[in-house]
Subunit: 336 residues, 2 copies
């Protein structure tokens, strides 16, 4: 198949490698000049995926025409959530609808509109929901690029679309399970980054493994609570795109969201931490969307609320953790 | 209150510290001579809880009479699962039933009988189930002894018993939630050790965070599957004594079960690893019970089955991991 990739960050690059290895022809639209130069001269995306050799057959280019003119049969959106709309507005100008399947791999909720990223694609590209799917689950790009066994979920409102995407991406080290609860899968991937920020603060402020495990357990409960109100199945949150992704993001050394939380827990400011980062920590913007959405829908999300206060209202991380510990006891519906 | 503690290992000692701090009078029956000597001379259980000062007011003694003659109002069983029966048979000889509440804090399933530890207490001590409760959840003894914020569950068939235990143990850093699904709480605490062995093998054999997160997610599914057949609520497995304890045991540097798995993943034999350990890794014996129980009840537990093959049938850990990866896909009920 001919596949167009929008975005050449770490996950986009890792998936381009998977698709190439699966025998597909991949062209990736990448605007980062440094990445393009590195890939051209060193066959390596030193900025986003260091240490991984990129075959010459995968085309990385800043020329969107070259990517789209080739009649791609599948298009993957791999740009960060908050810039998806503007990137797609560029794509829209030269896109010919030839019935392609679209795949979203970004994990966020658009600010202001509170749309999931598949919904942003649907809206901007004027596509039926049945032609859009997502990939989500515990999948650090660095590990997938190194062919470490990974299991994720492909989801779409139309299970046939989910199965098609599964077929395109699956191989020996990347196992994919099809699922039709796209709301639950997308919200799991997005909301878990908020809990990862909280887990990072827990690490940075010097709490223990016991504390963090309790926080993660309660975190999944509030993720599921918002998800169900938005139309997701609660069981989806117990699967790979919920609990699985939450675990890997809260525990792994690779996680950017956990890292941001850890730095804040150590006393650095959000601005200071973000200014020093190359990659996007989706959780920061997702916290904003989820906080407002929870208020609007009247859903109790105590961890999200505390993280919002820390990130945007200058609340001290230690005070937030103490409030969380106290509050967690009040809302614990355990045994109820 | 006057409280008798049966067993002076790391968790028993950490809980004795909690109870003492909460204003109770604690006497602990401890047969380990080295521990008794260390506590007497250094005020420290160097063997099981190094670095923690033990107040003189907590009595540690090998004289069971001295512990039981004092009319204890609550008795805590903190000996390892597989020796609970023989320890209690000693207790039975000199026990006067004065209506005490019993609390089990061991996490296992008795071999051969497949009884939960609260059931072993019930049987040996000839007590009504209403007078027995358990404490379980993500709670490394080392962290509780250092007063790191921890949240666990107290459970009993009788919710009033669970509330009583909650009241006795709860304090600023140890939050306790009462629950009446004792089957789910005990099985969660026991079965998670099997998944921790698997997670450890995953670490030792050099797999990644993605792999481990997938394994843990599927692990919770099979724990819950056996639990429900045994009469537990599936939601209990999503709480602190299920998911919470699973997370801390699979991820923490403190976990003995994860450690045993890691060593086996690196190629050492089970005997070699266990011979070198001071403390008991409950998961090894629990694997035996759960494997047989799953066969008897016809419950599919692919991870437990592979761990059983590795521990007791000499299967190579790498082969088991490969079989697990392949098999996991077959049984994935995601989206079904």
């Amino acid at each position: 198949m001919r596949i167009a990739m929008i975005g050449g960050g770490s996950w986009g690059t890792a998936l381009a490698l998977v698709l190439h290895e699966n025998g597909h022809t991949v062209k990736s639209w990448t605007i980062d000049k440094q990445s393009l130069e590195d890939i051209r001269t060193k066959q390596e995306n030193t900025r986003y995926l260091p240490g991984i050799k990129i075959p010459r057959e995968i085309i990385f280019t800043s020329d969107l025409h070259a990517v789209l003119n080739d009649h791609p049969q599948l298009i993957v959106n791999a740009v960060p959530s908050q810039v998806t709309r503007s990137a797609l507005q560029e794509v829209k100008k030269m896109y010919r609808d030839e019935g392609q399947i679209w795949v979203s791999v970004a994990k966020g909720i658009e600010n202001k509109t509170y749309l999931r990223i598949s919904q942003v694609i649907q809206e901007v590209m004027e596509l039926p929901a049945e032609r859009i799917g997502v990939l989500s689950g515990p999948s650090h790009a660095e590990e997938v690029a190194r062919k470490i066994p990974t299991a994720i979920v492909s989801s779409s409102q139309d299970i046939e679309t989910a199965r098609h995407i599964q077929h395109v991406f699956m191989n020996q080290y990347l196992r994919i399970y099809a699922n039709d609860d796209i709301i639950g899968v997308e919200l799991g991937g997005a909301l878990k980054n908020i809990i990862a920020l909280a887990a990072g603060i827990c690490d940075g402020a010097g709490y223990g493994d016991n504390t963090k495990a309790a926080l993660m357990t309660r975190g999944l409960v509030e993720m599921s609570r918002l998800g169900v109100i938005m139309g997701a199945r609660s069981t989806t949150f117990a699967g790979l795109s919920g609990m699985g992704d939450l675990i890997v993001t809260c525990m792994s050394r690779h996680s950017r969201n956990r890292y941001v939380g850890e730095q804040i827990g150590k006393g650095r400011s959000l601005k200071e931490v973000l200014d020093a980062m190359v990659m996007v920590a989706e959780g920061v913007r997702t916290t904003e969307s989820a906080y407002e959405l929870a208020k609007q829908k009247n859903v109790e999300m105590p961890i999200t609320e505390q993280i919002y206060q820390v990130l945007f209202k200058g609340k001290s991380p230690k005070k937030a953790m103490i409030d969380l510990m106290t509050r967690t006891s009040k809302i614990e519906d355990w045994g109820a």
